[in-house]
């Protein structure tokens, strides 16, 4: 088991390394000169060259990458071009609201999606299956920001049950924090739940056709035991895979949904930085998000080893 865990961790390193190069290169190779856009339209060539030196983008690209990744390893994310604040401080302020939204939405998606998928997969053509079809049909055409607006309209504006905007830290006032979090998390989580439920249904219904399920039923085990102990356990690997892949979608979705509910967070930071062409901030923000994504997928890979002894031995 130890060798398996170590092997998986070592495999994640090149992925992270490659994606950091990808983020870096995308931001460098695409045409457009940040120095020129920073200097303004009627700046002299000397002024542009000066800014270029300040930003360190007069250096060759590989060297820029090494400087950036070296600083990154020491926790120095550089300073924002626009307002001179350290990027690490900007991130420290915007990451928690986004993470808390992503985590709650994700938990909600798991709590709705997996039970619904299991019930529909174990009982094809039952009421559960129809419920899943209906649920998918409703959510499939509605992007999270649209469902966010609808929820905002119904529950905040018409009914007045929830606040329309802002965020309260959980440590300050847990109840109020959850009230602010409920609608955005619901908007983000429900769409995701449909995706999870569909995959779970497929995985479980495939397993239900196996001989050992028939044997388990023939032994006289209750439907509940057959589904939970035999079917669900064996379909967990595809479910964990798809659940982990959804993490990227949750974080990207959180960035957009935040804007619907005017929550401060990574969304606002990234959008503002894009509009200001503050690419060091965007670059660092993306690396943070991608690292979380790769990290969660690594955990999923490790989970396979716990879920299925065959994976461990390979």
């Amino acid at each position: 088991m130890f060798a398996y865990v170590l092997g998986r961790i070592l495999q994640a390193v090149p992925v992270l390394f490659l994606s950091s190069i990808a983020v870096f290169l995308v931001l460098r190779l695409v045409p457009g000169d940040p120095a020129e856009s920073l200097a303004g339209e009627d700046a002299t060539d000397e002024r542009v060259a000066e800014i270029r030196v300040q930003l360190g983008i007069d250096q060759p690209v590989p060297r820029q990458y090494i400087t950036w990744i070296g600083d990154l390893a020491q926790g120095d994310l550089g300073t924002s071009f626009r307002n001179g604040l350290p990027v690490s401080r900007l991130l420290k302020a915007s990451l928690p609201p986004t993470l808390e939204l992503a985590v709650v939405a994700y938990a909600l998606a798991l709590c709705i999606g997996i039970p619904l998928g299991v019930m529909a997969g174990a009982n094809p053509r039952s009421a559960w299956d129809w419920l899943l079809s209906g649920y998918t049909l409703v959510t499939i055409g509605i992007p999270s920001f649209l469902s966010g607006i609808l929820l905002l309209w119904i529950f905040s504006v018409v009914l007045g049950w929830f606040p329309t905007s802002g965020r309260v830290a959980f440590t300050e006032d847990p109840v109020d924090s959850l009230r602010h979090l409920a609608l955005p998390a619901f908007a983000l989580g429900t769409g995701l739940a449909a995706i999870l439920a569909r995959y779970t249904r497929t995985a479980v219904s495939e397993i239900m056709g196996h001989d050992y399920i028939r044997t388990a039923k023939a032994k006289g085990l209750s439907q509940r035991t057959v589904v939970v102990r035999h079917a669900l356990r064996n379909s967990l690997i595809p479910i964990v895979t798809i659940a982990a892949l959804q993490v990227g979608g949750v974080m990207a979705g959180a960035v957009v949904v935040e804007q619907v509910f005017t929550r401060p967070g990574m969304g606002r930071l990234v959008v503002e930085s894009i509009q200001n062409r503050d690419y060091l901030v965007v670059q660092s923000a993306l690396v943070v998000l991608v690292t979380i994504f790769v990290g969660v997928n690594l955990v999923a890979d490790l989970a396979y080893g716990f879920l299925d002894p065959r994976v461990r031995r390979k």
């Binding site: 992925v15 490659l18 994606s19 190069i21 990808a22 983020v23 995308v26 931001l27 695409v30 045409p31 457009g32 940040p34 856009s37 049909l137 499939i140 055409g141 509605i142 992007p143 920001f145 649209l146 607006i149 609808l150 905002l152 309209w153 504006v157 990227g248 979608g249 974080m251 990207a252 979705g253 960035v255 957009v256 804007q259 619907v260 969304g267 990234v270 959008v271 930085s273 894009i274 509009q275 062409r277 690419y279 965007v282 670059q283 993306l286 998000l289 991608v290 994504f293 790769v294």
Partner: protein
């Protein structure tokens, strides 16, 4: 439930045989005979017609603020099917032109992204060896990014605007198409007809694009439909974030963003364009399902 028949030619054989004559005809035939596919096709055709003839269908211009009877926040009526907004503009016209820009961005982005992705994937799969390994590594690194984040990275440098949104979406479509078409290529490249044409002295380009592509492309149609769905969604999300063309240019995402501040006074502001976007996404999803069923040999038997 009828007993299985063992006749060599099933009863509806003329239809079956006709559909086998041409792969494209067969696929379209199977899509139309699937209720989901029919709804999707009819829905998409009407939306495309609405977008193409937006100028003729809408009574007002999408950015016209002054016309006889102009007022803020008029509720939907025969004259203004979607009502009017805070600047007295007709929301129906804005939604139609927004739909047009959404479709243009998505079609442009998906055609560019899929062409590059498919070509890369075919070449990588056909060549094998180091070419394949390098392409796969790059593709995997790109796939590690959720689409929206990749698009945000590109827009940082290119700046906001519809054209740049299209470029960003095209870019993020490349890896998925490259991976799928490489897999298709692996399935085809050792078949007899490929060996036969190689033996006749056909060069790699001719073999890939003249022979293999014809057989490997239809299954990629599902991905085209899914990619369109993703592109519409992503372009709406980016417009919602304010990264599309600057106002007053109409876009579905932009209208939704603006509607947010007026939910109390004008329920139709978000609801009507939102419903249009949802219907478009639903049709594209249905179409993807129908194409998938029509092209996959497993589900085909059920029809």
């Amino acid at each position: 439930m009828t007993a299985p028949t063992y006749e060599a030619f099933p009863a509806e054989s003329w239809r079956r045989r006709k559909s086998q004559e041409s792969m494209l005809f067969g696929t379209v035939d199977r899509i139309v005979r699937n209720p989901q596919g029919l709804i999707a096709l009819l829905g998409l055709i009407s939306l495309v017609l609405l977008a193409v003839f937006a100028g003729a269908i809408a009574k007002y211009g999408p950015i016209t603020q002054s016309y006889p009877g102009a007022a803020r926040f008029l509720a939907p009526s025969w004259d203004h099917p979607f009502g009017t907004d805070e600047l007295r503009r007709d929301l129906f016209a804005r939604a139609l032109f927004g739909l047009r820009s959404s479709l243009l961005i998505s079609i442009g982005a998906v055609s560019i992204g899929s062409s590059i992705g498919i070509t890369t994937g075919f070449i990588a799969g056909y060549a094998g060896g180091w070419t394949e390994r390098i392409v796969l590594r790059i593709v995997d690194a790109l796939l590690a990014f959720p689409g929206l984040l990749a698009a945000l990275a590109i827009l940082t440098i290119l700046g906001a605007g519809n054209r740049n949104v299209a470029i960003a979406i095209a870019f993020f479509n490349i890896p998925a198409f490259a991976r799928l078409s490489r897999a298709q290529m692996l399935g085809e490249k050792n078949k007899d007809y490929v060996k036969a044409s190689q033996a006749l002295g056909a060069g790699p380009l001719r073999v890939i694009f003249g022979h293999i592509a014809r057989n490997a492309l239809p299954p990629l149609l599902t991905q085209v439909s899914l990619a369109m769905n993703g592109a519409v969604l992503l372009s709406a999300a980016l417009a919602f974030l304010g990264l599309g063309d600057k106002p007053p240019a109409p876009s579905l995402g932009g209208i939704l963003n603006a509607s947010k501040s007026h939910l109390r006074t004008a329920w139709w502001y978000a609801l009507c364009p939102g419903a249009m976007l949802a219907f478009l996404l639903l049709c594209l999803n249905f179409l993807a399902d129908a194409i998938n069923e029509a092209t996959s040999p497993y589900s085909r038997r059920k029809v």
